[in-house]
């Protein structure tokens, strides 16, 4: 019954990942075997999968497959349609780079044994792939939780460190709660047909109330995984705790599985969303984006900074998603397609940019053993490869043309500009504010990235030990280069990407964005408006002018350059301590958005022998939501504990009373 086809191919490749992982158990403690053989192999599988997924995305077909596994009445269904192909592509393409990097990254004696690590890592990949292929609720949930579980074990690789254990615990707890919410949403979706296949859910007819309930449940469930504020608290804990390649996968890919799930439920299974649904993800997304970027700006741990920046990007993605739902509900298919396009594009971009950055931090971590920005600096001299490749990611995520981050933000803003066409006055007013917020977030992202790159790689080394930092190995370079190349190409060939994505938009909102311009290098997707963007020309022009300038300068003027000590207004005794620290760089943001943070300062007194300045910034949601929650549970637990005093007479009394009460009930009934 199983014949050769893209779907079976993808399934086979996922299985291959799983087997590579299992192979790790053959020589669990051998770094060479896992690193030099298995991880690169995994990367190759990733490339193959990417090719396959890309091909089926362009083909735009849909095929299904039923596995002889699962519950008796509900075997695992698989389905490969444009949407899943796209996210598979995202997963495979970015994970290829990460896997290669990981091959060079993992060292001996890092908690979990390399072989086991390899197993968990590849199971993580495979389960993510399965999530995107699953076509029934049960299979989806199994894959979903398998993903959470494998990533949990990866996060707790260094399980001897209490903070990391705590992070893992919070992560898995939140993931579990989210999973239950998703499960309940599926319970609504099956619409009493007791068929848990997605086909049945597509066919089921739900009353508006039930449909809304399903949507909101799904939003909560997937929102937890995506890190939507206020469900985000696990993310800044777990992502930094994991080894860098894993952080890269979690931020770059795993968050997107949540987006995939929400898209699947909202636009595919539910089908006809009401326009007001979109407001929820729109508002939440905007808030998330802003919250994330503001917190990223004040972080002092480089991986936490990136984690918060992931929150920001997820916020932007959800904004686009909400926007497209609103447009769709208002019957503006073409614009909805544009917004959806922006969403998907941003997912793809973020997968590459964020993975790249996390891998960069990984190399820095290995070279210096430092995560604290306050102890880094000047690494561009010691590790040029990492520095320049990371720079690409940083510029991309800051949304600068002609790199990829800019394209998706451009598309998003373009779709925002249709706000005044929505036939709902209130929304008309609301959406421009959203546009303003998105602009602000984009600008702040630039701030964050200048801080990130500048403090780590530029300036003078803040610690003497940094002088011994070494550049990363060949495998790591390969991985970084692959991702950087991705950022560049996605930025330069938007038209081709958009063309590939049109199959997805066609599947989800029934239409693809138009391509007004005839030139292959010109992106003009905006329906009914003559707006276009041609990054290739853009780049060519810039490079051209720069080259001309350089040439002109070289030809006309002498090349004499003298090296001297830094001028610094003639101030001689320059020490590295005089540069801005990360705290210093975040200070304006701290002042401007004071109300967001829960700040505790430790200021030195004038008389201090060893003056010390410390500042700790906490997430308000902990103290506002989660700690009270825990306390109330504790209180309830204490309250009920009173019931069990150890007195047998009391216990007998319970039985007696129960008996009497039930008898009375039975008599009355």
């Amino acid at each position: 019954m199983i014949s050769a086809s893209p779907l079976t191919g993808c399934a086979a490749l996922l299985a291959a990942w799983a087997f590579i992982g299992l192979a790790g158990l053959l020589r669990p403690s051998s770094v060479r075997f896992a690193g030099r053989t298995l991880f690169p192999l995994g990367a190759v599988v990733g490339l193959a999968l990417a090719g396959l997924a890309g091909w089926s995305l362009l083909a735009g077909g849909t095929e299904q497959l039923v596995l002889p596994l699962g519950l008796p009445d509900l075997p695992f269904h698989l389905r490969l349609d444009p949407l899943s192909s796209f996210f598979l592509l995202l997963l495979a393409a970015s994970s290829a780079g990460v896997s290669v990097f990981a091959g060079g990254y993992f060292r001996q004696g890092e908690g979990t044994a390399p072989g086991l690590l390899c197993l968990q890592y590849h199971l993580f990949l495979a389960s993510m792939g399965w999530v995107m292929l699953a076509d029934d609720a049960y299979g989806f949930m199994v894959a979903w939780e398998a993903m959470a579980l494998s990533s949990y074990f990866l996060v707790t690789t260094q399980h001897r460190i209490p903070e990391i254990r705590r992070a893992g615990f919070i992560y898995l707890l939140m993931a579990h709660l989210g999973a239950i919410a998703i499960l309940l949403s599926f319970g609504v979706l099956q619409g009493g047909s007791w068929q848990f296949t997605f086909d049945a859910m597509r066919a089921a007819h739900l009353s508006p109330a039930w449909a809304a309930a399903a949507f909101l449940l799904a939003l909560v469930g997937f929102g937890v995984k995506a890190g939507l504020v206020p469900l985000h608290i696990w993310l800044p804990e777990a992502h930094p705790a994991a080894p860098s390649p894993v952080s890269a996968l979690m931020s770059g890919v795993m968050l997107k599985t949540a987006v995939y799930g929400l898209l699947r439920v909202t636009l595919d299974l539910l089908g006809h969303p009401a326009w007001w649904w979109g407001l929820v993800p729109l508002i939440l997304g905007l808030f998330t984006a802003f919250y994330g970027v503001v917190f990223a700006a004040v972080q002092t741990d480089m991986k936490r900074l990136l984690a918060y920046s992931s929150i920001e990007n997820i916020g932007i993605v959800f904004t686009g998603l909400g926007l497209s739902v609103i447009f769709l509900g208002a019957g503006m298919q073409a614009v909805a397609a544009l917004a959806l396009l922006a969403t998907l594009y941003h997912c793809l971009n973020h997968a590459f940019m964020k993975s790249l950055l996390f891998l960069g931090t990984g190399s820095v971590l290995h070279a210096t053993g430092e995560r604290n920005l306050g102890r880094l600096g000047g690494l561009i001299h010691r590790m040029p490869w990492v520095a320049w490749l990371t720079l690409v990611g940083a510029l991309a995520i800051a949304g600068l043309p002609p790199l990829n981050g800019f394209v998706s933000e451009w598309l998003l803003l373009q779709s925002f500009l249709f706000a005044d066409r929505v036939p709902h006055e209130f929304v008309n007013l609301l959406i421009p504010m959203g546009m303003a917020l998105v602009a602000l977030c984009a600008a702040l992202a630039g701030y964050v990235m200048v801080k990130f790159f500048g403090v780590i790689f530029l300036g003078q080394p803040r610690e003497a030990t940094l002088a011994h930092a070494h550049d990363c190995g060949p495998l790591e370079r390969l991985g970084l280069a692959w991702l950087a190349l991705g950022c560049l190409l996605l930025g330069l060939l938007p038209l081709q990407v958009v063309a590939a994505l049109s199959a997805v938009t066609r599947q989800l909102v029934g239409t693809a964005v138009p391509q007004a311009a005839s030139q292959w290098w010109l992106l003009a997707p905006v329906p009914g408006r003559s707006v276009s963007y041609g990054p290739l020309v853009f780049l060519a022009a810039t490079v051209g002018i720069v080259a001309l300038t350089v040439l002109a300068v070289r030809l006309t003027y002498h090349q004499r350059v003298r090296r001297a000590a830094a001028w610094d207004c003639g101030f001689g005794l320059l020490t590295p301590r005089m540069q801005d620290t990360a705290e210093g760089f975040g200070q304006p943001i701290r002042n401007i958005f004071q109300s967001f943070f829960q700040i505790e300062r430790e200021l030195p007194a004038p008389s201090d022998r060893a003056p010390r300045y410390r500042i700790a910034i906490a997430d308000r949601f902990w103290s506002a939501v989660y700690e009270p929650l825990g306390r109330s549970v504790q209180r309830m637990a204490n309250a009920v504990a009173f019931l069990q005093q150890g007195r047998i007479s009391v216990y007998l009394l319970y039985s007696f009373v129960t008996l009497v009460v039930l008898l009375a009930l039975a008599l009355l009934a």
Partner: protein, 318 residues
């Protein structure tokens, strides 16, 4: 695209490169007049640049390649920006490849490279300048975007030529939305070009300076390029302002010699007026403390958003 379009394109770039320092000089001269000082020559910026190009470059030992690359990048982006702003004609070949949002992106690129370069040496002033520059930037950039969005909502496009053509062909009348955004834009222009009240281009007082602090380590040709691109930036902002708010006179449609004959003088006139106005503002206002700058820019942002809301509430005419 016709060949003469390419010609206009080239003309614009060259004109911008050539006129930018002059414009800067003009502004300084006006300022001097208004402050009863003996005005420096209008050509001073040119001499300055030329002098710098002849000097030997002195670079700090721990400067990386990035430090030397940055000036060229900044200069290149500014030149490209000049190319895509319809200051004389709207039929520009390069314009199709970058709309207003991309233009803002270009400015952002320049800013990021400049700040990173400033951080490269690792001096106190450099990082301080970079930080302040980014702080100004992350508030000014969205404000500028908002300004542009209002215009593009009016003209249903973010392509600058389209905006200009639409506004130019519009019957002259006061649009409250545009009025608001005009105010916002002026504020942004002041902030982005390191003018009073946000920054003072003619001081090296470390506590207050922003833009200059970033250039401290540069010398000779690198500094020249930086100065030049600063001038270009001012010029570009002025041209954006014209394109959005007083687009009349810009040659729309396929441009002929006649069109240019009208366009060039009008542009010159506009520049003269704008320079005077700018100098006036700078003279009348006092330098703000750096910590007040965010409030200043927030108000700019507010004006822009108000313009947007007003536009929407009055039922967009887009």
């Amino acid at each position: 695209m016709r060949p003469e379009d390419w010609l206009t394109q080239l003309l614009e770039i060259v004109a911008a490169l050539a006129a930018a320092p002059l414009f800067l000089g003009w502004v300084n001269q006006c300022r001097a007049w208004l402050q009863n000082r003996r005005a420096p020559s209008v050509w001073l910026p040119y001499r300055n640049i030329r002098k710098l190009f002849h000097k030997d470059a002195v670079i700090a030992q721990n400067a990386s390649r990035f430090f030397r690359l940055a000036p060229y990048i900044v200069f290149g982006t500014m030149a490209l920006a000049a190319a895509i702003i319809p200051s004389m004609g709207t039929r520009l070949p390069l314009v199709v490849s970058a709309d207003a949002i991309a233009l803002v992106g270009l400015f952002a690129t320049a800013r990021v490279f400049m700040s990173l370069a400033a951080m490269d040496i690792g001096t106190a002033f450099g990082t301080l300048g970079a930080r302040r520059e980014m702080m100004v930037g992350f508030l000014a950039e969205p404000a500028l975007l908002m300004v542009i969005f209002v215009a593009s909502l009016l003209s249903a496009s973010t392509a600058l030529p389209a905006i200009t053509e639409h506004l130019a062909t519009q019957t002259l009348g006061l649009d409250p939305a545009l009025a608001f955004t005009a105010v916002a834009f002026t504020l942004v222009l002041l902030a982005e070009n390191a003018r009073i009240p946000v920054d003072n281009p003619s001081t090296h007082l470390e506590l207050t300076m922003i833009h200059e602090a970033m250039l401290l380590e540069y010398s000779a040709r690198h500094l020249a390029l930086m100065e030049w691109s600063a001038a270009l930036k001012l010029f570009n902002y002025a041209c954006i302002g014209f394109a959005l708010f007083i687009p009349w006179g810009v040659a729309t449609g396929h441009i002929g010699p006649l069109g240019l004959i009208v366009a060039i003088p009008t542009l010159a006139l506009k520049l003269l007026l704008a320079g005077g106005g700018l100098a006036l503002i700078e003279t009348l206002s006092a330098k703000l403390r750096v910590m007040r700058a965010p409030e200043f820019l927030a108000s700019a942002f507010l004006f822009a958003v108000l313009g947007l809301l007003v536009h929407v509430m009055l039922g967009g005419r887009g």
